[in-house]
């Protein structure tokens, strides 16, 4: 008998007219590692929440979900709490208490365990996850990745047999995300805990899964092993949206109409290319953007937050040209966001020069810096919204620049058209999906008519499809003559869409080049495609470039 069985499940939220889930049939066995993927809003979260009795949303449900043969609804409260663990997306919000030890003990306290029992279990869990050294720390001192690991540990301490995770790495940087996924693998492999996870970034988690469930429009679109998914997608529907999110190796495989076993990892992909496409065509041609005038420039900039603290910017030199899209990449805590703060004028260099359109930043008085010159999209777009509908919010901003209501209206209309958000006018900004929020926030910024737009990790937590839409928006902005600077961890996005990329390390820009040469030269900090195609191709940094070379070599043969 399957551990979890979902039979003919349909679900409609209270007050909604459309079904959030339609005719879902799934079986999940003990020890499975099930990966749910699909565009945001396809019903992943709803399905996962329905599996946990305590989190069931309100609405009408047909069909049933059974756990060990018992309907989830009829499960004993305690059993449901202990045996089905649930980890959410935002590490910040799911941390409840102020101390690490208290957070770990929280679930066991709820179960009414004795102090001695709690002490033993918590000690064990600390050992398993290697987090003993944080035991006495305050939760607010932890980094995002550490917090998420703590959330995982504080669920695992109750010894669940099923662990449900809803986009657990969406808010983490790549290193922390990878560490987190390794912990999941360990839990699955060493403890035999069944893992059910929804994710957008599939590069790493895809090969780990024993079963992948692809969801589309409230339905299960495909459900198979990772290797078969690759093949079936290749056979079925080449242009399926979800294929964008698949790991590089899989995408290269089906775009080159590969046969045989699907490669899942970079290593397997490399072998696939070696045996099929090694040939004389090794270099892609690409277009280099022509340089225009300098939009902003920092020379030998130094910045620190406090006198006694070390320099965060340590003689940084950066030039951004007009009408280009520059991505600044770098490790967590390297000071990328600080650089952005300096660029946006929120912080001032204590040494060095910062010129914007050739004029010293100091000479921009009051708000002149932010009106028509520079605008910054924060990491969390929610930080911008004030009003209760998108339209009111945009109008409010428009009124700052225009006196005339009619002018405001036409301005909002124009921006909304450009970003395709007119249909969201009456929604509450918080109800939008991540990608939509991003666009609404961008619209708000565009109303200030900036010539330079600064983006802080704008692709964080977005699914592959929203990312593509976002890239289109960025392209459109570039066509309008805007200059865009983005700090990001997302190497794949940078490799595909940036004009130039810069590497930030130790308070300085250590390398800066056009996107292809940048990632082709990098050995470690580069895209999966570049790692996979080397040494057969010299500068294939995106999937499309790799596929192009593959096809050329195939034709030559």
């Amino acid at each position: 008998m399957a551990l979890l069985e979902i039979k003919n499940l349909s679900f409609t939220y209270q007050g909604a007219s459309n079904k959030a889930l339609r005719d879902i049939n799934l079986e999940i066995n003990q020890g499975d590692f099930v990966l749910f993927c699909g565009e945001s809003g396809c019903g992943k979260t709803t399905l996962l929440k329905l599996l946990k009795k305590q989190l069931r949303p309100n609405g009408s449900l047909q069909g049933q979900i059974t756990y060990n043969g018992t309907n989830i609804e009829n499960l004993d409260e305690k059993q449901s709490v202990c045996e089905i663990g649930y980890v959410m997306q935002n590490p910040e919000n799911q941390t409840v208490t102020d101390k690490v030890w208290h957070e770990l003990a929280f679930g066991l306290e709820s179960l009414g365990e004795k102090t001695a029992v709690i002490r033993r279990k918590v000690a064990e869990i600390c050992g398993f996850f290697g987090i003993g050294s944080w035991y006495h720390k305050r939760t607010c001192e932890l980094s995002g990745g550490q917090k998420q690991l703590l959330s995982l540990a504080s669920v695992m301490v109750m010894n669940p047999s099923v662990l449900i995770l809803d986009e657990p790495t969406a808010q983490l940087d790549p290193i922390a995300a990878s560490e987190f996924l390794q912990s999941l693998r360990k839990i699955n492999q060493e403890l035999g805990v069944t893992i059910i996870i929804a994710e957008h970034r599939l590069e790493e988690v895809f090969p780990m899964a024993s079963k992948v469930v692809l969801m589309d429009k409230a339905q299960v679109f495909l459900c198979d092993t990772p290797r078969n998914i690759g093949q079936r997608l290749a056979n079925d529907d080449m242009s399926h949206k979800m294929s964008l999110a698949l790991p590089t190796a899989v995408r290269v495989f089906y775009k080159t109409q590969g046969t045989g076993q699907t490669p899942l990892t970079v290593n397997e992909g490399k072998q696939y290319i070696a045996s099929n496409f090694a040939g004389s065509n090794t270099t892609c041609s690409f277009e280099k953007a022509s340089r225009q005038e300098v939009a902003l420039q920092i020379s030998e900039g130094y910045f620190r937050y406090e006198r006694d603290l070390p320099d965060v910017l340590n003689g940084v030199d950066i030039e951004v040209y007009k009408n280009e899209f520059l991505c600044i990449l770098g490790a967590n805590g390297a000071g990328k966001t600080t650089l952005l703060r300096v660029l946006s004028g929120l912080k001032r260099l204590y040494k060095g020069k910062y010129r914007l359109w050739g004029k010293k930043i100091k000479d921009y008085n009051g708000n002149s810096l932010y009106r028509g010159n520079i605008a910054c999209l924060p990491q969390n777009p929610q930080n911008l919204f004030v009003k209760s509908t998108v339209y009111d919010d945009l109008m409010e901003t428009a009124k700052v620049v225009n006196a005339n209501v009619e002018q405001c209206k036409s301005m909002v209309e124009e921006v909304a058209q450009k970003l395709d958000i007119a249909h969201l006018y009456q929604s509450h900004p918080y109800d939008l999906s991540g990608g939509e929020q991003q666009k609404a926030a961008l619209a708000k910024i565009l109303l200030m008519k900036p010539s330079i737009i600064l983006l802080d990790e704008a692709t964080k937590g977005l699914d592959a499809y929203s990312k593509q839409t976002f890239a289109q928006v960025v392209d459109a902005l570039k066509k309008d003559g805007k200059t865009i600077v983005m700090v990001t961890h997302d190497v794949e996005f940078a490799a595909e869409h940036a004009d130039r990329c810069a590497m930030f390390f130790d308070g300085q820009i250590v390398s800066c080049d056009n996107r292809v040469d940048f990632f082709a030269t990098n050995r470690y900090y580069t895209t999966a495609t570049a790692r996979m195609t080397r040494p057969y191709f010299t500068n294939a940094v995106t999937v499309d470039m790799a596929v192009e070379l593959c096809n050329l070599n195939k034709g030559a043969k």
Binding site: Q54, L55, E77, K78, V81, Y86, M88, N90, E92, N93, Q94, T95, V96, T97, D98, K99, W101, H102, A105, F106, G107, L108, E109, S110, L111, G112, E113, K114, T115, R119, H136, R138, T139, C140, S151, S154, V155, M158, R341, S344, G345, L346, G366, N367, Y370, I374, A375, P378, Q379, N380, Q382, N383, L384, F385, V386, T397, V400, Y430, K444, M448
Partner: protein, 293 residues
Amino acid sequence: MKYFDRLHPAVAFVYFALMIAISMLTTNPVVIAVSYLSSIVFCGMLIGGRQLMVSLAYNLPLLILLSATNPIFVHKGETILFFLNDNPVTKEAILYGVFASMMIMSVFYWFKCYSTVMTSDKFIYLFGRIIPKLSLVLSMSIAFIPKLKRKYKEIDEAQKALGIYSGKGMVDKIRSKFRVLSILLTNSLESSIDTADSMRARGYGLKGRSSYAIYKMTASDKILCALFILVGTASIVLIVLGTVDFNFYPTLSPISLQALQIVAYAIITAFAFAPTILEVKENVLWRCLKSKI
């Protein structure tokens, strides 16, 4: 780690409660001086000499200011030293000012020691026992404050960079802060839904919730606690019974050194300096152990 930090929270709490009570119960200059000195010395041990110097740099001028205020406004007392604007300045009023402000300062330093030792989780542990729900609420609010602070800063910067407010002029400033607060409120409400889910997912609301703590009452904790209670209450009893009563007005009462008074002073001094002595003892012990290694 300091010795007092390692004590069971209840022991430390008992000590501070008794000591602060003693410091406030009497106007006896000897007791006040003892309390003042011991509080400063102990505080120095807890926060380090440099930090102490910094705080004294603020506190000593304040002490002088407070002391000077009393004789300017109060003209009681029989020993007139001189006239200020035709008002008599008396020796009694001056001394009362000095000791009253010393008392305030000693209480201040005891509280400083208290807040260094009794971190939030210790406090929660102690009072969570009495009201289990409260302990969780306290713990959650303490976790919430740094989150809120960080969010506030984030939102403030986001709004500033949007260029909607200029930040010049009082009205504009207030309006902009109001905006930030309103966003913060919506934001926090939104995130608290997640927090509630996370709590429910981990069984919050089930019957028979227990309360876990990392503190253990050891035998030496118990002995020390008993000693503190004994000596502390003895001091308070002696004070309340009037053994060390002292009046500043109209004339200073003499400080008598009868057997009973000597005993009272000895007990209070011993109690006041107990933490310092324990800390020094610990340091010496550590040195000995280290030299043996």
